[in-house]
């Protein structure tokens, strides 16, 4: 007699094999779509040199002009300073701004003080070299395109609604799996949750498409794809958290839209830096004053029944403060302000014993400083001092017993690092070995959503969510989700020179960098490849504040794409 259960099992297995392949297709489509629909590779304006008759294409929104080889427009003239001036485009037109040159910059013979508007056919004199501003069309030779955008086309790789449909279908499959694996109670709970999720997804899509009339939705689609996975992972663990997570997603999306609107004008961002810094410091102070100690770190603030982590939200502000427009970059005051702000932030986080967040802030600080100054020394000095401080602390901790539990926890991690199996039943290795065991138990395709055992462990939905995802959905889905986040960096880099200001390119690269650092700490800390844990997996880990801040960071990447503001449907 033929066993009918074989057919049923084959179906389950088939679905399970399909899911990872499907996840790969979705992530590929998101990135493929990002490469399309951009303006053709043409200069915005060009600079005509009446003496030599040469024509220089101006391709960026902000262009540094100087003698230095790394200038966007290099002028081989000894009277020109290394960093002479900046030619930038704003919605009001083209401006030139002197950045402390020796010989000065002149427009139509008048020396430039601050930003000065230049019109087509105006003469700009830099040192002894003179240029006339011409239209971009006047430059005829072809420009070299870059690799990521090699397939420039007006046609999108995939219609945004089709991409959204694919993602919704993926989430539906997850919900169906979660319905299948349960103990008979709340069979339809996953389906209800899926319905709510779909409303959020398509609601956002409609707002973006009809109200904001945006052409592109790939970045949002990627964020929704990951957020949805995170929400659905919770349905068979703590159903209530799934809804909290979904509400956080809505708030995060709202923050996303607000930030994009808020930073529409890069020059306004510069003016409100100071008040925003004060807000950030006050938020961190509030967690010290109002904060309750949870799991060793005093980073939670409770207002009634609502709790949140200000440190997560300050991340977004941190990126905002760090970036600026190209002509402002050259002045040192900006950087010193940022360094003081960073020291205060990291110091407050250390006071809260939130070492995971402090580390992320510190690494982001380094990224921002490097992105701004390009000076490796400014980066190495803080790294050296922090490592020194850590070694000193460790030295002291071994001799004097004044260090708190939280410190011991951190040092324990170092003790067990790469030896976790020897500490399988001690605090130092307990989590990591279970992470590895359950990842391996899930195989490539997972045991099915809701069918795993790892969800019973503490922090399985937050710091250790990589293992939860790998056990239930398979290691392929887990890695694809991780790569989906990591590849944001490639995208951020590809749009870096096409941004409307260095404010956007710096903030988007740093936001992507922050997400990658956080992702690395989350995955490698849990799997004993790095000795640290205590941070969340971007977009997927349960945790409202974390999810909201991820959407906030994503906004910077979206804003860096010039199409966000310039192209409407």
């Amino acid at each position: 007699m033929f066993d009918m259960s074989v057919i049923f099992d084959a179906g389950v297995v088939g679905l399970r094999i399909l899911m990872p392949l499907y996840a790969i297709v979705i992530v590929y489509q998101c990135y493929a779509a990002m490469r399309r629909r951009r303006r053709p590779e043409k200069p915005l304006v060009s600079l005509y040199n009446p003496n030599s008759g040469g024509m220089i294409p101006v391709v960026f929104w902000e262009n540094s002009i100087g003698r230095s080889k790394s200038s966007d427009i290099m002028i081989n003239d000894p009277t020109v300073s290394k960093n002479h001036c900046v030619l930038l485009r704003r919605s009001a037109g083209w401006f030139v701004s002197d950045v402390g040159s020796t010989a000065g910059t002149y427009v139509n013979g008048t020396r430039v003080r601050g930003r000065t508007k230049v019109l087509i056919d105006d003469m700009i004199r830099v040192g002894k070299t003179e240029y006339q501003l011409k239209r971009g069309d006047d430059f005829n030779s072809p420009l070299r395109g870059d690799r990521f955008f090699s397939k420039v086309s007006d046609k999108p790789a995939i219609q945004a609604w089709k991409l959204m449909l694919m993602i919704t279908l993926f989430h539906l499959f997850m919900a169906v799996e979660a319905m299948f694996w349960n103990d008979g109670t709340n069979v339809y709970a996953p389906l209800v949750l899926f319905g709510a999720l779909a409303v959020v997804e398509w609601g956002f899509f409609s707002v973006s498409y009809f109200a904001l009339r945006r052409l592109n939705f790939e970045l949002e689609a990627l964020g929704l794809f990951l957020t949805g996975i995170g929400v659905l992972l919770l349905v068979r663990q703590v159903e209530r958290s799934a809804y909290v997570q979904l509400i956080a997603a809505v708030l995060g999306i709202a923050l996303y839209c607000v930030i994009i609107k808020f930073i529409e004008d890069p020059d306004r961002s510069d003016k409100i830096r100071f008040p925003v810094m004060i807000v950030a410091v006050l938020m961190l102070l509030s967690s010290i004053v109002l904060g309750r100690v949870t799991n060793g770190a005093a980073n939670w603030v409770y207002i009634g029944s609502i709790s949140f982590q200000p440190s997560e939200l300050v991340k977004t502000i941190f990126i905002f403060i760090g970036a600026s427009a190209l002509d402002k970059l050259q002045t040192k005051r900006n950087l010193i302000e940022f360094i003081i702000f960073s020291v205060v932030c990291v110091g407050l986080l250390a006071l809260m014993s939130d070492f995971g967040a402090a580390l992320i802030f510190f690494v982001t600080f380094l990224l921002v400083v490097f992105m701004r100054s390009g000076d490796i020394k400014t980066v190495l000095l803080p790294v050296g001092s922090v490592i020194g401080a850590f070694v000193l602390f460790r030295f002291l901790a071994e001799r004097i017993n004044f260090i708190g539990d939280r410190f011991n926890y951190v040092f324990n991690r170092f003790k067990a690092y790469r030896h976790v199996w020897e500490y399988a039943n001690e605090a130092a290795g307990y989590q990591q070995v279970r992470v590895l065991t359950y990842i391996a138990s899930g195989g490539l395709f997972g045991v099915g959503l809701g069918n795993g055992y790892f969800k019973q462990y503490f922090a399985s939905e937050s710091d250790l969510v990589f293992a939860l995802l790998a056990e239930e959905m398979g290691v392929i889905v887990a890695i694809v989700a991780a790569l989906a986040v990591a590849l944001l960096m490639i995208y951020a880099r590809a749009i870096a020179t096409r941004s409307r200001s260095t404010f956007y390119s710096i903030s988007s690269c740093c936001a992507a960098g922050l997400l990658v650092v956080q992702l690395s700490l989350n995955i490698f800390g849990a799997t004993d490849i790095l000795p640290l844990t205590g941070v969340t997996f971007p977009f997927i880990s349960s945790g409202g504040s974390s999810l909201i801040s991820c959407w906030g960071l994503l906004a910077f990447i979206k804003a860096a794409d010039e199409r966000t503001y310039s192209m409407k449907r």
Binding site: D3, S5, V6, D9, V13, F60, N63, S64, S70, S71, D72, L367, F370, M371, G374, A424, V433, R434, L436, T437, I439, A440, S441, G442, G443, L444, F445, G446, V447, G448, Y453, Q456, G474, I479, A482, L483, A486, L487, M489, I490, A492, R493, A496, T497, S499, T502, S505, I506, C509, C510, A512, G513, V516, V517, L519, S520, I523, F524, T527, I529
Partner: protein
Amino acid sequence: MKRTLRRSTLILIFTLAFIGGIGFFTAELIFGAKDWVDQPYNAHISGSGGLEQAGKILDRNGNVLAQTVNGERVYNSDPSVRQALLHTVGDNSLNISTAVQSKYRSLLTGYSLIWGLNMPQSMRSSHDITLTVDASACKAAYDVLSGMGKRGACVVYNYKTGEVICSVSTYGYDPQAPPEINESNEAQYDGVYLDNVVSSTYTPGSIFKIVTAAAAIENIPDLFERTWYCTGGEEIGGHPITCVETHYEINFEQAMEQSCNYVFASLAVELGSEKMNATAEKMGINMSFHFDDISTPKGHYNTTNATENDLAWSGSGQYDDKVNPMQMAIICGAIGNGGKGTCPTYIKSGSGDILKEIGVKSSQSYDLVNPATAATLDGVMPKYEFGGMSVHAKTGTAEVGDEKQPNGWFVGYSVNEDAPLAFACVVEDSGFGNQYARPVAEAAMAASAQAIRGY
């Protein structure tokens, strides 16, 4: 803008490092997953988890030691066989960590890297494992050992091929009905989850004289011309060295035969700490032996900080000397095998070790004794006849203090070509090795010889 792009390379490096890290993790997963899965806390396989579809475990003759019938794990029908093989086969729990059902749980349940532990039941391919042990030899040894009512261990293995024929450990219980261990019965099950053959160390007593003898043979040229005078109690280093009986004038061969503590104490002191340690090290006393994913505990011999009297006693396996039964069987096998200690194995086929299955990986061996020394040592080992074999063996009675009776030991090997068997047997808290360990070992050896000879 170009500068910004160039500087963002730093962040790109972070991303590439992350991708590299994922690659590294994937490699670790591929190579480690099998071991990561077999953990006692893994809820996918603990309890009787996973055994509902697990493959059979067979002995060397194809007798079923454990199998799954209608989703239930059923062990051998003979209660005595079940108990005898408890520590080798294991039970439904993962408590006995060196047992096959613990070590190879994921393999038995059809674990694969691709499917993890969740291949649907109807499509799962279970996996059988055939062991090298002989059920009746284990039963014979277990019946005698458990009859003593003491904790102990007995192992017999083929020192040419490495196949373990008999391996038993007490205390035990019936895997078909595992006991609920609580305060009232914990004494009865003290250490029951340890396979004493591969996981415990004991004070060796006189069986350690084999090592002292090897050191003397290699370092004292006129050893065989010498005589000693044993009065039954001599002082060395200001404290007494006692013998069980007075041996009067005695030469080296007689000292080995009659296990004269005084002679071996004198030899240890004459050889000195350095040479004794060197020989103990060479013979693998301080070494862990690895086979079938098991690592034996290291024995212990170190007299660097010992007083003269301690050094003297260490030559007779007292002081803080420690050995493991499997380790002693390997060392005895090495003497019978011209100096080469063959690595043992419990798995005949189905271990999932592809290299071994296709015969590429031959059993590993250790050079534990110089061939010349092994030959001389073989000549002076006390001779016995039992089970239709000529057996060269040494008894031991190790004082352990704490108002406990001594550990009785019997270790050795047969010299018959058709039954190259080495053995080690220990009975804790018992008495003379000759009285307690020897009957167990004789039963085990006789049944094991029968198992490999077929008569």
